[in-house]
Structure formats: C-alpha cells, structure tokens
C-alpha cells in the first residue's frame, strides 16, 4: 500500500543533530499534511456521518443523525446497475487505453532516437486544450452526420440508421481518449528505463523478438503498466462528463448519479453513501491490484 520506497538511512551521525533534523522534517511536513487532513480527511470522515443521516430530512430543514445504515442498502439496490456499468466502462476503457498507449510509449522509448522529447511533447500537447472542449469535439466527430458514423455505415459495420453518439461505444471512446496521457507517460517512464542490453541478450540467446518482448521487455515495464492502469481506471470510474456529453441517461455512470443527488436533488445522505461506496470499492480494488502486481512503488 505504502507508496514510498524504503527510506534512506538518516545521514547525520550525532544524536543531537538527528533529533534536530527530525524536528525539521516534521516542520516541513506539517503544513501540507494539515492541508490534506483538513480538506481531504476531515471531509471524508464527515461524508461518512452524512451518509448515516435520516433520509427523510431535507437540505433546507436539516438532517437528524439516526445512524441510518439502510441508506447504504437503498443506495446499492437503487443504483447497483450504475456501479456495474461504471466499473465495466472504466475497465474496458483502461484495457483499450493500454492497448493503444503501449505501442506509442514503446515507439517513443525505443524507436524515436533524438526525436524522443519532441514526441513526448506531442503526446501531452493535445491535453493542453480543455478537457470539455476535447469531449465536445468528439461529440461532433461521432455525431450522426459525422465522418466516422458515415464511414462505418458505408462499410456496413453500422446499419444505415445506426448511431455512435449516445451509445456505450462513444462513452468508452471518450474515456479512452481523455485518459490516454495518464497511461502513456508512466508506460514511457518505465520502458525508457529498460536496459537495452537485456533485450539484446534475449536475442543472442535465440529468443524471437516476440518471445524477447514477452519475457523481458514486458515484465520490466510492469511498474509502468500498473501505475498507468491505476491512473486511468481511478478517474474513469468517477467520471461523469463523458457519459453526459457523449451518452444519454441510458449510459449514465455512478458519477452522474452522485452529481445530480448532490447538486440538483440535494439528497445528501444518498449522495454521501454512493460516494463512500465508490471510494471504498476503488480503494479495495487498487489495493488488491497492487498486491497482485507485487509493486510497492506506486507512481
């Protein structure tokens, strides 16, 4: 779980100095930690209490605390399909993203030569424009009159009245596109560290390029795969913009529900319990995944 590599031993030898440095360490750490405690930890704990309020209260009249655990049961029975859909969309988007980003990261790390930095800039550059504008551009591209839909209709992949916009395909495509750099950059970082001599050694030992990749390059790039998939999957689970702009209520994800429960219905107990379920599921999945992948270094 811990994201830190084992800490280097403190260098100071004299006892007095060690304790002074320890004090300085605290001093450096405390302002940031306080910020996280007050504006992240405390609200999350408070969210937990909010999730147990009596749901018959309202935003205007206030809520009473009745430790109403049934809020969770209601939230799950009402919206379990949204949870399933969110994790399915986010999971598919993560896999597609990995499949697209890996060749790109590989090409930059191994084939780009002196164009490496320039290509990296090109990878990040599209993401300097606003996330919403990019998603709106996709809405135009995937629209019924757009080039992609008519092309797919011409080659008969889509029926003549078939649509791309307002389907799960469009939502997943949007998720894939918007989280690409979070996948590509960690992948590139770990592929770039791979010692080329190891791959050459595999070739010298008569491994085919494919076997060399499967047994040497890919395993060495696993830390990048792990952090890339996490950095893509986590935000994709909670995203609601792609579902809203590229889909219809039929494609809505749990983020859409949380957003509307909070901002339009002001149903705080429901919104809070949904948020906590989402957070808990994501954290559990992340921890299991990290355990399984066996990497300690997170990002």
């Amino acid at each position: 779980m811990s994201a830190a590599p084992p800490s280097p031993a403190p260098r100071a030898a004299v006892d007095g100095e060690t304790s002074r440095r320890r004090g300085l360490g605290w001093l450096l750490l405390v302002p940031g930690m306080l910020w996280l405690a007050v504006f992240f930890l405390f609200p999350t704990i408070q969210l937990f209490f909010t999730s147990l309020y009596d749901p018959s209260g309202s935003y205007e009249q206030g809520y009473t605390m009745t430790w109403h655990v049934m809020n969770y049961v209601d939230a799950v029975t009402d919206t379990w399909n949204l949870f399933v859909r969110s994790f399915a969309y986010a999971g598919i988007a993560t896999v597609v993203c990995l499949a697209l980003s890996y060749p790109l990261a590989y090409a930059i790390a191994f084939k780009a030569g002196r164009w490496k930095n320039f290509l990296l800039v090109l990878v990040i550059a599209p993401f300097f424009t606003s996330f919403l504008l990019r998603t709106l551009a996709w809405r135009t591209i995937l629209s019924d009159q757009g080039p992609v839909t008519s092309f797919l209709q011409t080659i008969a992949v889509l029926p003549d009245d078939g649509r791309l916009l307002a389907t799960p395909v469009a939502v997943i495509a949007g998720l894939v596109y918007n989280f690409m750099p979070f996948m590509t950059l960690p992948l590139y970082a770990s592929l770039d560290k791979v010692d080329h001599r190891l791959i050459e050694a595999a070739g010298d030992l008569y491994s085919s390029p494919i076997a060399g990749f499967r047994r040497v390059t890919f395993p060495l790039s696993l830390p990048g795969v792990v952090s890339g998939t996490l950095l893509t999957f986590i935000p994709a689970c909670g995203d609601y913009i792609n579902a809203e702009l590229l889909g219809t209520p039929k494609q809505y994800m749990v983020g859409n529900r949380i957003q509307s429960a909070f901002l339009t219905e002001h149903n705080y107990p429901l919104a809070a319990s949904l948020s906590l379920i989402l957070m808990a599921v994501v954290v559990v999945m992340v921890v299991l995944y990290i355990r399984r992948a066996g990497t300690e270094d997170l990002v």
Partner: protein, 290 residues
C-alpha cells in the same frame, strides 16, 4: 521463470532458426510498432484538428456546433465578445496560479521531509498522500462541498474554496513528482559541498535546490494543468463563480459561441510553444555544459 527460460534455451539451441528470418522479422516489428505509434498520435490529434476548424466557423443558427458552416477569421478577433468568457478565463488563471504556487511550495517541502528526514508516522503520511490519488474526483468534490455547507460557507463559495480544493488534489501529485527527482539525486554532491565548507543553508541553496529544480518545475506544470482543466471538483466548490471549464459546460446547454474553440486552439498553441521553447533552451544549455 528461470526454469522455463533454461528449457527454452536448450530447445532453441538444438534447432537454431534460419538466420535470415530473424532480421526480417525484427525489421517488420520495428516498423510496425513505429507505424502503430504514429497512428495513435494521429488519433490523439484528431479532436485538436476539429477544435481548430471550429474556431474558424461562423454558425448560422444558435448552438450550431456539430457542423462547419462557413469560414470566418472574426472569431479570433472577438474572443471576449461572448458574455463572461474572458472573466471566466481570468478567474481560471488566478485560481490555477494561486493553487500552483501553494501546492508546489507545500508539496516540495513534504517531499524533502519524506526523502531527507526520518520520523515516526512516515507510513501514515504516505497513506494520506496516496489516498487523494485513489479517490474519484466526484467524491472529493462532494465531500468538500458537504463540509463547506455544514460550516456555513455556502455564501462565500468561490475563489477561496476553489483554490483550497485545487491545492488539495494537486498536492499528492507534487509530492510524488518531486520525490521521484530527490530519490534519484546523488547525495555525494551535497556531501562534497559540505566538505568544501558550505554550511547547510548554502548547500541547500547552491546544490540541492538547483538539482531538485527540474522536478519542482515539472510538478508546478502538472499542478497548473490539473488545476486549469479541472471541472468536476470545481463544479462542486465554485458556488456562483465561473471558471473556464465551468463556462464551457454552461455554454453547451445554451448557445455555443465559436470563441470557445478559439480559446481552446490558443491554449494549445501557447502551451505547445512554451514547451518547445523550454526544450530548445534545455538543449542549448546541455550543449554548453558539455
């Protein structure tokens, strides 16, 4: 793994593959990967092309975003014409600059503390830094809003609450980025400075800080990008204030001014130019130092 490698080695050693096929296969693999990479890059630029094209669009009706109607230069000259657009940009810049400075400062201090100092509670600290990154934005935004509302801050939601939220989610990314740089640094350089009678402060200012600078700059750029582009958390904490992403979101419901695409294109051009300039500067510096 080792066993299977060894057995494989024996198997291939017994029947060596025809030597001519290997380079041919590798050539194909090389160029296939490069080709795939280029295709993916092209895919990444498709929406950018659309944004540029739509910035020159003159829509005939209201909300005409889906189709290019007729060409005009005038959108680029009238960016501030849609009501509130430039105000939202100003607010976004103010928020992102403030949040970037605060997050970079606090996060860099934390990274130094975690890498250079030992103390109790290190793993708890690491956990608290990791958790915001594993929390979907919608959860962070909603919990912050619930806290602000319960503390009676409903009326003052705006610049301050947006900055608070942005610093919170940028901090972890700053810590991770700066830490990565500090861990990779050669501690002997600082020892050498101390050996040459630099005191701790001089060592820090003249050796440690310059060495850590690329990490700090990267962290600041990352924070700025995350903050400037954030919609979800901002939507919860902004109250009546409108940042640029919120403006875009609001505009999609009403008429949709093409000037939004001008701003998008300009953002792309400016940041692209900045990054290229920085890269050229870095190259020149590294050739000088060689």
């Amino acid at each position: 793994m080792t066993g299977s490698l060894a057995s494989r080695e024996r198997a291939t050693a017994a029947v060596p593959p025809p030597p001519a096929r290997r380079p041919a296969g590798r050539w194909l693999a090389d160029h296939l990967v490069l080709l795939l990479g280029i295709l993916v890059l092209v895919y990444m630029f498709v929406p950018i092309g659309y944004i540029f094209a739509l910035s020159f669009n003159q829509p005939s009706g209201r909300g005409a975003t889906a189709e290019f109607e007729s060409f005009t230069w005038s959108n680029w000259g009238s960016v501030c014409e849609p009501e509130g657009l430039c105000e939202s940009l100003k607010l976004s810049f103010a928020v992102s600059l403030t949040a970037t400075v605060l997050a970079t400062l606090l996060g860099t201090l934390m990274a130094f503390a975690l890498v250079r100092h030992s103390f109790r509670g290190r793993s708890a600290s690491n956990l608290l830094i990791f958790l915001p990154m594993a929390t979907p934005e919608v959860v962070m935004g909603s919990s912050l809003l619930a806290m602000f509302v319960s503390l009676g801050f409903d009326g003052v939601l705006g610049f301050v609450t947006i900055v608070i939220a942005h610093v919170m989610f940028c901090l972890s990314f700053v810590v991770v980025t700066v830490k990565a740089r500090l861990v990779g640094m050669d501690a002997r350089l600082e020892q050498a400075a101390m050996d040459l009678y630099a005191n701790e402060w001089q060592t820090f200012r003249l050796v440690t800080l310059p060495l850590a600078m690329p990490g700090i700059v990267a962290a600041a750029l990352l924070s700025f990008t995350l903050s400037f582009d954030d919609f979800i958390v901002t939507n919860f904490t902004a109250g009546q204030s409108v940042t640029f992403p919120l403006y875009v979101y609001g505009a999609k419901l009403k008429d949709f001014p093409p000037q939004l695409f001008v701003v998008g294109s300009a953002m792309f051009l400016v940041s692209f130019a900045v990054v290229i300039a920085a890269e050229l500067w870095r190259r020149r510096r590294s050739t000088w130092s060689r």
